[in-house]
Each structure stands twice: as C-alpha cells, then as structure tokens.
C-alpha cells in the first residue's frame, strides 16, 4: 500500500511538473528559433564561394533528464514494444535546444552561416541503467564569419 502511494505521488508529480516544464520549454524554444532565424544553419559541407569567410567551430550542448512519469511509460513500452513517444518529445527538445545554443554562440561571433552542422547524442546513464536517465545532445558546426570582421587566425 505504501509503495502504491509513493508510486502514485511520484507519477502525479512527474506528470504535472514534467508537462509544465515541457510546455514552457517548447514555448521558449519556438520563440528563440524565431529570434535566430536570420542565421541559417546548413548541413552541407560546401560553403558559399562568393565571399571570403573565416571559419570557426561552434557548438551547443544540452543535457536533459527524464521524469518519473515518462520513464514509467518507457519501461512499459520495453515490455510491450512500440514507439516510445514519451521520449520523442524529450529528445526533440534536447536537439532543438542544442541547435539554438550553437546558433547563439555563432550569432555572438557575428557569423553569417553555420555550415556542416552535425548532432551527437550520448546517453549519460551508461552502465547504470536505472540510476540516471539523462541524455546529452551536442550540436556542432562551422561558423562562417565574414573575413575582416574578426581576428585573423
């Protein structure tokens, strides 16, 4: 009985707090994406050749953890199979947040573009399956800064 109560409290807390945090985060993500729209991020390895650019590595990094509710749903999914939808939004948030941080960095450097953008995802919980349920998402790319606008390398 006590177990059930603890479980229900954790689930309710996980659900309410997790949902609230998620909503808030998405709102901020969408807003900041709009702010940084003028800075294109491109996956191509071939930068434009019409102009001379200085190149600089930029990166954005996010570590995000899963709440009790999402983790329970994912554990049930482990049993029955299917899409782990509860983690989809989690990872979507982490990727977009990382890209935003990378763009912020590039923007602060006065970049015109970020090329060759890539993502790396790493699970922090390696070897400790249930103790930590966090992932790290790293977005990185080459910022192209118009020559002469910064220090020569």
């Amino acid at each position: 009985m006590t177990n059930l109560i603890i479980f229900l409290v954790l689930m309710t807390l996980g659900y309410l707090v997790g949902q609230m945090a998620e909503k808030k985060h998405y709102k901020s993500i969408i807003q900041r994406e709009k702010q940084l729209r003028e800075l294109p991020t491109i996956a191509s390895r071939f930068p434009p050749t019409d102009k001379l650019f200085d190149q600089h590595l930029v990166m954005g990094n996010t570590v995000i953890s899963v709440d009790y509710f999402k983790r329970f749903i994912a554990a049930l999914r482990n049993l029955l199979g299917g899409r782990v939808t509860s983690y989809e939004s989690l990872l979507d948030r982490a990727r977009r947040e990382s890209l935003l941080r990378m763009k912020q960095q590039a923007d602060a450097m006065g970049a015109e573009y970020v090329f060759n953008v890539k993502y790396e995802t790493a699970s922090i919980s390696k070897g400790r399956k249930n103790a930590i349920g966090s992932v790290e998402v790293l977005a990185y790319g080459t910022a192209l800064i118009a020559s002469g606008s910064g220090n020569e390398v």
Binding site: Y15, E33, R37, P40, K70, I73, R77, T85
Partner: protein, 286 residues
C-alpha cells in the same frame, strides 16, 4: 544559391498522443500480460509439482533447519496426536505420505501445513476451539493440504512465478506491476483452501457420521478477525476465501451430499484444555 533558415513546422518529430491515454493503454496491456503469464505458470506448477516424490519433499525440509517445535509428551499433545491419527485414518492418504504433528504453545491464532507433511498447530487457535469436531475439521484441513501436495505446489509456484516476473519486469521501475502477479497468485491459494475445506468436511463426516461443529472452526476464526480488527477486506486480495463464504460453501456441500448437519458435538476433554493452559503458563514463566 541562397541559404536561409525557415520556420520549423511543429509536430513532425513528436507523436501527438496524450500521455495519460498512452499510460492507460500500456498499463492495461502490461496487466493483461502479467496476469496471463502468472496464470499459465501457476497452472503448470500445480500440474507438475505433485510429481515431485514426497520423499524429496521430506529431504528438502530435513536439510533446511526448520524451526519447528520439539515434541513433548503432555496430555494435550497426546490427545492432539490421537485425533490426528483418527483423522488420517479416514482421509485415504497415499502410502508414501505421513503426517507429523507439531504443537506450538505460542499465542498465534493459526495452524499451517508445510513441506514434508509437517503440520503445526498453535495454542492460540486451539484454545478458541469450542469442540472436538472443530478441531478435527482444523486438522483435516491441514492434512488435506498435505494430501493435495499444496505446500510443494505453492513453493514451486512461488519460485517459478517470482523468477518469471523478475525476468519480465527486471529491476526496473515496473516492479510495482508485480502486484498484478501477486493477486493472480492468490487466486491459486484460495482454490487450494477451498479444496482443502471440501476434503476436510468429508473427513469430518466420515469420522462422526455428521458435519455438525465443523464450521465452528471458521466461525471462531471469523470472530477473531472481527475482534482483532484485521478486517478481511476484498476477497481477491486475500490468500484465503472470506470466512463467511467458507461457511456458506461448506453448508452447501453438506446439503448437496446429504450429509447430516446435526448429530451432536463431541466436547474437548478437560485434560486437553488444562494442558493448553499449562503450556501457556510454561511459556510465560520462561
């Protein structure tokens, strides 16, 4: 070439399912799965475990240092043994099974049958019994468990099911789902009790020619449950059927078999009652 960054359309990388709906669907699915697994394993254990030879069961207990009360030769125990012998005689036990009765002077209101044909009765329960018929019912019930090989079946069932649940649920956050398995397992336990009741009532009938007094046992247990405030609650959460249901089932059984439900009760001998009191005093002196 022009490079620009357009607004990202929402909802492509994220499946739009309400989390609570997802939870409901998954919980139902997992519960059905667990109940099915436990039920199938429970049935198989019930089918296979009786093939374990009784001698193996006895060896199993002999190697485990069971904390069973040592025998003393008091009036109370002699009388208990006497009733047990009479009950055993009418119960048609298979040849290899023998019953060892243990008396414990403890206050516990209980009696149980365990591996190797060991039956333990506690003074706490004996002192509440109103007549010999109820005592015979109690002993016959426990002996019926041994006859049906219930202790070894329960052990097999418990080990198999907990292993399966361990593998299935792992050491994840899902261990709570194991509750669904526990409640399914209790179903088997209640079936065992019911069968033991049936067998015991038959033994009481054979012994006395009527079944009067037999249900007094459950009335006693029921009264004790009420008084101790350990309310019985919901049947599916219990290892035993509810007391009132047991009495009802037994009365129905007696009438359907046309066993007389009256015929006079046999009183417990005074020496036995005195013996119980004596052993209780002994325990307090220690």
């Amino acid at each position: 070439m022009k490079f620009e960054h357009r607004e990202i359309p929402e909802g492509i990388n994220v499946t739009d399912v309400h989390p609570l709906k997802e939870l409901a669907v998954l919980l139902t699915g997992a519960a059905i799965l667990i109940v099915a697994v436990v039920y199938i394993l429970g049935l198989s254990a019930g089918f296979l475990a009786p093939y374990i030879p009784f001698a193996t069961e006895q060896r199993l207990v002999a190697s485990a240092s069971y904390a069973i009360e040592p025998h003393t030769d008091t009036d109370a125990e002699r009388y208990l043994q006497q009733v047990t012998d009479r009950v055993v005689k009418v119960m048609d036990l298979p040849e290899e099974i023998d019953i060892t009765l243990h008396y414990s002077a403890g206050d516990t209101v209980n009696a149980f049958a365990t591996l190797g044909g060991n039956v333990v009765v506690f003074r706490g329960l004996l002192a509440k019994l109103p007549n010999e018929n109820a005592l015979a019912m109690l002993l016959a019930h426990e002996i019926a468990h041994v006859k049906h090989r219930d202790p070894i079946v329960s052990l097999t069932r418990g080990v198999t099911i907990s292993t399966a649940l361990g593998v299935l649920l792992g050491f994840s956050d899902l261990d709570l789902m194991g509750e669904a398995g526990v409640y399914t397992m209790l179903h088997f336990s209640r079936v065992m009790e019911q069968k033991a009741d049936t067998e015991a009532l038959q033994a009481v009938y054979k012994l006395y020619g009527h079944t009067q007094g037999a249900t007094d046992l459950f009335q006693v247990i029921h009264d004790w449950h009420q008084r101790s405030g350990s309310g019985e609650g919901v049947e599916f959460m219990q290892s035993h059927p509810l007391d009132q249901n047991r009495i009802k089932n037994l009365n129905a059984l007696a009438s359907s078999n046309e066993w007389p439900q009256a015929g006079g009760i046999t009183a417990l001998p005074q020496s036995f009652l005195d013996g119980l009191k004596q052993s209780s005093n002994d325990i307090q002196d220690e």
